[in-house]
């Protein structure tokens, strides 16, 4: 495993907390009733409320885009703004864009299916089709900002965001880019929500505002988080965190991966959920059981995941990281750990500077 630190110098997000540049504050949030879907019965979710993208990103034309593309463009732009990166001062062919997603542009995909149901496959909309492609969000970020470096859209069964971070760092390490914008997230749609419901995965909190405590299931969420990765001493000085490296696997021993990443115990453990919808905190338990095997003593502070990010499931990694850093839980070597059914895990090492 090669380590070559890169710096996270900017955060941007479009989440149920609203669009934001930098870290978040006021992290209390309740799910809200879904009103955007005309035929929906009373259902609740953590939702991104409508906003005007052009007010945040002057010149952005998003009317025909999937919400995921729109949010990706806004979140990436806010991350660039937060990092203070002047794109006119750098070579835009050296800026990579990586987007991690579980479901891609699912809203316009459903719209395309709807037009096929109503008009037949011969009567679908040519404007919609290209916007259904999974790589449309990353494409719009590149197009708007004139970024001509590698442009990637990645997925993973559980850890799409973690995969994108690792691949972005790899591009920088191999000199294939100087900067990388990493974006991760998903949008909710009627078919996705209904899939969760039919599968029996939802929390009672999706149906009533005062659910019983410790109920099983999860509340679906949506949104996008973006970071700017860059390397070099100047970037390190103004970074939220250094991204050192990591490992993910379909199955295996997270304890070994944690040992490889951390010569001594981490100071912080950021729980990144279980990579699929969850309401508990499996990674914290996994870390505790691993810690005994890996370190002689461990008093790492565990920063539990929040339901608003757990509900984002497959692409939640950057949102978990944003929330963990926003809680300003401390500094030092940090493990971001996600676990999933079947022994899958993602373990990332970060270095959080003291503020």
């Amino acid at each position: 495993m090669s380590f070559n630190p890169t710096s996270i110098t900017g955060f941007g997000s479009v989440t149920p907390f609203g669009p934001a540049a930098g870290l978040l504050s006021g992290l209390e949030l309740e799910p809200e009733t879904i009103t955007a879907w005309p035929n929906a019965t009373l259902r609740r979710a953590y939702q991104v409320q409508p906003f005007n993208p052009a007010k945040l990103v002057p010149g952005a034309k998003t009317r025909r885009l999937d919400r995921l593309s729109c949010w990706a463009l806004v979140a990436a732009s806010l991350a660039l703004q937060d990092a203070g990166l002047d794109l006119d001062a750098i070579d835009r062919s050296r800026v990579a864009v990586l987007c991690a997603t579980g479901f891609g542009c699912v809203e316009l995909t459903e719209s395309f299916y709807r037009s096929a149901a109503l008009n037949g496959w011969s009567g679908t909309d040519p404007i919609t089709f290209p916007e259904t492609l999974a790589n449309a969000p990353a494409c719009h970020v590149a197009l708007f900002h004139g970024l001509r470096g590698p442009n990637l859209t990645l997925g993973g069964e559980n850890f799409a965001a973690e995969i994108a971070l690792l691949r972005a760092a790899s591009l920088l390490r191999h000199g294939q880019a100087d900067h990388a914008i990493v974006i991760a997230g998903d949008a909710l749609s009627p078919a996705v929500y209904q899939w969760y419901e039919t599968a029996g995965l939802l929390s009672p909190a999706c149906f009533v505002s005062d659910p019983p405590a410790r109920a099983a299931g999860f509340v679906p969420s949506e949104g996008v988080a973006a970071v700017l990765l860059e390397s070099g001493p100047s970037a390190e000085r103004r970074s939220y965190a250094q991204f050192i490296g990591g490992r993910y696997a379909r199955s295996g021993d997270p304890a070994q991966a944690i040992r490889d990443l951390f010569p001594s115990a981490p100071a912080l453990v950021f729980s990144a959920g279980d990579g699929s919808p969850c309401s508990s905190d499996p990674p914290a338990g996994v870390f505790r059981s691993c810690a005994g095997q890996s370190f002689s003593s461990n008093d790492a502070r565990i920063v539990a995941s929040l339901p608003v990010a757990d509900g984002l499931a497959r692409s939640s990694g950057l949102f978990h990281l944003l929330l963990a850093l926003s809680r300003r839980a401390g500094s030092g070597p940090a493990l971001m750990l996600g676990t999933a059914a079947g022994g899958a895990f993602a373990a990332l090492r970060l270095e959080v500077p003291s503020s």
Binding site: S122, N135, A138, L147, T153, P190, A191, Q194, T198
Partner: protein, 398 residues
């Protein structure tokens, strides 16, 4: 002198193409100049055009859990991994590209009443929708426990999967990587290209002045990549060296390529620079060559930019004229074809190319295949969203 620890070797190729299962069938079909494009009216009601179908797909257990794209990928991966030790395979990584994934398994009615559709079709079919499922299915099928990464970058996906797998190997993340792409024919994508008027109702004619569009195909290719040092240590046969790879974006238009081909040229130059190959050392370009009016002109301009000053025109062909445009699998299939061409010292033609786009710098190959030693060749891919990728392969003997 190549550093074996930092050189990427291709040690196996698994293919499911419209020619059938295996790279031998692919090579035989290409050398015979056989076109797999056939008239089709079944893709969706009202569709009438030519497509290249995979006729017989090997049976895979638990079919319900897997989409057609999954099963194409699983069959190609199984073909690629036939000789690999199980323990090595278990620790390997997977990078699989797709654009279609499980769209084949979902019907339009899901958008009208999702609950009713799940009630009728069940949840398993919709669970094949995420792009990650293809890589995961390969992992499940072959017992691979290492990292599994999905790539979806439109028609550049398959080539980009190979590039990312090469990076993973250089990073020491895995001892061996299975990388490629898989896409099935689907009503969804056929309808989309139909709506854009991008399909040629006749068999496509890439790089011909009379070209009218593309024909869709389906298939999968999986290449086994490892460092040269690792391959030598286990006595693996080296089929080719992946000497250089690069990715770029046009940042020009959501669907149209940069008319000057500058983005693709940038990827090609970077890949050739990484490979250390000059313009005279590249003996063949396996082009993206879709047959659409815009793409083929932009690509020609690109080759003129990259190969200006070459001692002879650069030989170029599009094998999409044989097997159609396999979308997310195209880049991987064409990488496999480029390697097969090198190993057979064969310059492959573009079929049905009667009146090529004029260019002083480009020799558009047509007619029968021609024997010529190929120490190095390049496979290029491009896609909606402006993404480009270039892969430079070298002979292991060069």
């Amino acid at each position: 002198m190549l550093d074996p620890a930092k050189t990427i070797a291709v040690t196996a190729i698994g293919v499911v193409s419209p020619y059938g299962l295996g790279s031998a069938a692919l090579q035989a079909g290409l050398l015979a100049g056989k076109s797999c494009l056939a008239p089709d009216t079944e893709l969706f009601p009202g569709f009438s055009g030519h497509v290249a179908r995979v006729a017989a797909l090997p049976a895979i257990a638990e079919v319900e859990r897997y989409s057609r794209s999954d099963r194409l990928a699983m069959a190609a991966a199984e073909d690629a991994c036939a000789g690999l030790p199980r323990e090595l395979l278990r620790r390997s990584g997977i990078v699989m590209a797709t654009t279609v994934a499980g769209l084949t398994e979902i019907e339009p009615e899901i958008a009208i009443d999702p609950a009713a559709w799940y009630g009728k079709a069940g949840l398993a079919r919709a669970a094949t929708y995420p792009i990650s499922r293809v890589a995961a299915s390969v992992g499940e099928h072959l017992g691979i426990e290492g990292p599994a990464c999905a790539v979806s970058v439109a028609c550049a996906s398959g080539a980009i999967a190979l590039a990312l797998a090469a990076n993973m190997l250089l990073d020491g993340e895995v001892p061996l990587a299975l990388a490629g792409g898989s896409d099935a024919l689907s009503a969804f994508t056929a309808s989309g290209f139909h709506s854009l008027q991008a399909l040629d109702p006749s068999p496509c004619r890439p790089f011909d002045k009379s070209r009218r569009g593309l024909n869709l195909g389906e298939g999968a290719a999986v290449l086994v990549l490892e460092t040269l040092a690792h391959a030598r240590s286990r006595g693996a046969e080296i089929l080719a060296i992946l000497r250089g790879w690069a990715m770029s974006n046009d940042a020009y238009h959501p669907t149209a390529p940069d008319t000057e081909g500058k983005g693709l040229a940038s990827a090609m130059r970077l890949a050739m620079e990484m490979a250390g190959t000059g313009i005279d050392e590249i003996g063949y370009v396996n082009a993206h060559g879709t047959g659409t009016p815009l793409n083929d002109v932009a690509e020609t301009r690109c080759y003129e930019l990259v190969f200006r000053g070459r001692s002879t025109p650069i030989p170029v062909s599009s094998t999409k004229s044989h097997i159609g445009h396999c979308l997310g699998a195209a880049g991987a299939l064409e990488a496999a074809i480029t390697i097969l061409a090198m190993r057979r010292s064969a310059l492959l033609p573009t079929l049905r190319l009667a009146d090529p786009i004029e260019s002083q710098e480009v020799e558009y190959l047509r007619g029968a295949w021609r024997r010529q030693p190929l120490p190095a060749a390049i496979s290029v891919s491009a896609g909606f969203g402006g993404s480009n990728a270039a892969l430079v392969f070298g002979s292991p003997d060069a």
